[in-house]
């Protein structure tokens, strides 16, 4: 359909918090776009605007100026209910603390956005189980979050973020509470989902995790100050290493 149009476009975004003497310019004219199949990592010190960027991209907050386009639709001009619909249909979130609903099983958690989107619970559940199976998480379907490890919960959260037609996953320090090997397995899954066609934005302070992205963007004081270029040299890297 929308072959080359980015899934997410942030165009010259500013976001000012507070008024008078307490004005904070969280973002100051930021432009960023993420295409299907692309994982973009955002790095920067605290206060650089990383989290603001994610909340705006997910339609949880409005920019002071600029446009937020998800799948070509401008969130800023939508009514509250239209926006909620876009969020349910197009955008999935992954948080540091997993945010699965403790009273629901993995499959029910994953099915939830589909049910809220109007699907019958049987259909939603079938989709959820299929999606878990696709991510090698089938054996978790009937477990409750308390009976899963952190890494398992986070992988289920990724499944939930990308259930149904959703193509945009916004991840805020998704590996924060995990040990390094488990964190890596979560990143691998996120990478695989993007390779399969999703668009991802990953906010992290861990360079090792950001390195799974196609592009790493550095924020400072609400602006992009630098970004890594296109994938380089893998074949010439390290002598014979990559034969």
């Amino acid at each position: 359909m929308s072959g080359t149009r980015p899934v997410l476009e942030l165009l010259d975004i500013t976001r000012v918090h507070g008024t008078g003497g307490n004005v904070v310019h969280a973002l100051r004219g930021l432009t960023l776009s993420v295409r299907a199949g692309e994982l973009v990592a955002v790095m920067g010190p605290s206060g650089s605007g990383k989290s603001t960027l994610l909340t705006l991209a997910g339609g949880l907050d409005d920019p002071t100026s600029g446009q937020v386009m998800v799948e070509g639709a401008d969130l800023a001009v939508m009514s509250r209910s239209q926006r909620a619909q876009v969020r349910r249909r197009s955008v999935g979130y992954v948080f540091q603390d997993f945010n699965l609903i403790p009273a629901l099983t993995a499959a029910e958690n994953v099915a939830l956005p589909r049910e809220l989107g109007g699907l019958s619970s049987r259909k939603a559940r079938r989709e959820a189980v299929a999606s878990l199976a696709e991510l090698d998480l089938a054996e978790l379907a009937d477990r409750f979050p308390d009976d899963m490890s952190g890494g398992q919960q986070q992988r289920v959260a990724i499944a939930r973020a990308l259930i149904g037609p959703r193509r945009l996953v916004l991840a805020d320090e998704p590996t924060g509470a995990l040990d390094s090997a488990t964190g890596e397995s979560v990143l691998r899954l996120l990478r695989a989902r993007c390779d399969a066609g999703a668009a991802g934005v990953l906010v992290t302070h861990e360079a090792r995790h950001a390195a799974w992205a196609d592009r790493v963007v550095f924020l400072r004081d609400g602006l992009v100050v630098d970004e890594t270029g296109p994938p380089a040299r893998v074949d010439s890297l390290l002598g014979l290493g990559a034969q």
């Binding site: 010190p45 990478r191 950001a210 390195a211 630098d226 970004e227 290493g241």
Partner: protein
């Protein structure tokens, strides 16, 4: 890197000839540190001189094989038992560059830091791509080598972040010192800020290396 010990360790698996050792070394370490075959032959000659390896009769193609002696076998065991010496770190071009950037007039240190970080993150991305391939191929030795490179690059990035934060604080402090220094120069104290900073940086680097 100890070529000596690496070759000895390879010979633990059985006799090999020079070219074979080179190929084997690169295969087992993912080709991260290419060896030239001349290095291999020179090292073998020294190992033979030191009675750690022994030439065995050449094969049908005339390839000179070497095998470990008992002393050589002990040397391998000793190498694996002994931690690598980190008390004499190799010269670090980046640490030296930053120290000099700080004390060279007209150089924007924060810019040097930022460029390096972007470059190192990019390298980290490259390593990560290689890791994905190695993982698919089930090449565990190569994965370990890559992990080592990944963690080193990550450490460098964290250090650069730290430098940047420190420079911001130092910058605030410096503007104050410059005023004091201007006053000091007027009253005949010759030492400049950059001389003092330079001395402190080199002292810090030496200190940190112990």
């Amino acid at each position: 890197m100890s070529i000596r010990h690496s070759l000895l360790a390879l010979l633990e698996s059985g006799p090999m000839y020079g070219y074979q050792l080179r190929t084997e070394f690169e295969a087992r370490t993912g080709g991260t540190w290419p060896l030239n075959v001349g290095q291999v032959y020179t090292t073998l000659a020294r190992l033979e001189r030191d009675h750690l390896v022994q030439a065995v009769s050449a094969d049908a193609e005339g390839q000179q094989h070497y095998r470990l002696t008992d002393a050589g076998r002990q040397a391998v065991a000793g190498w694996f038992r002994t931690p690598v010496d980190r008390t004499a770190p190799p010269r670090d071009e980046l640490a030296i560059k930053l120290a000099l950037a700080l004390t060279t007039p007209g150089i924007d240190v924060e810019d040097v830091v930022r460029r390096q970080r972007t470059a190192t993150v990019q390298t980290l991305q490259d390593y990560t791509r290689l890791k994905t391939r190695a993982d698919d191929a089930g090449d565990i030795a190569w994965l370990l080598v890559l992990d080592s490179l990944v963690f080193q690059a990550e450490a460098e990035i964290r250090w650069l972040d730290h430098c940047e934060a420190r420079l911001v604080r130092y910058g605030a402090h410096r503007s104050e010192v410059t005023r004091t220094e201007a006053a000091a120069t007027r009253t005949g104290h010759a030492e400049t800020l950059s001389e003092r900073a330079g001395a402190r940086v080199s002292a810090a680097i030496k200190g940190g290396r112990r």
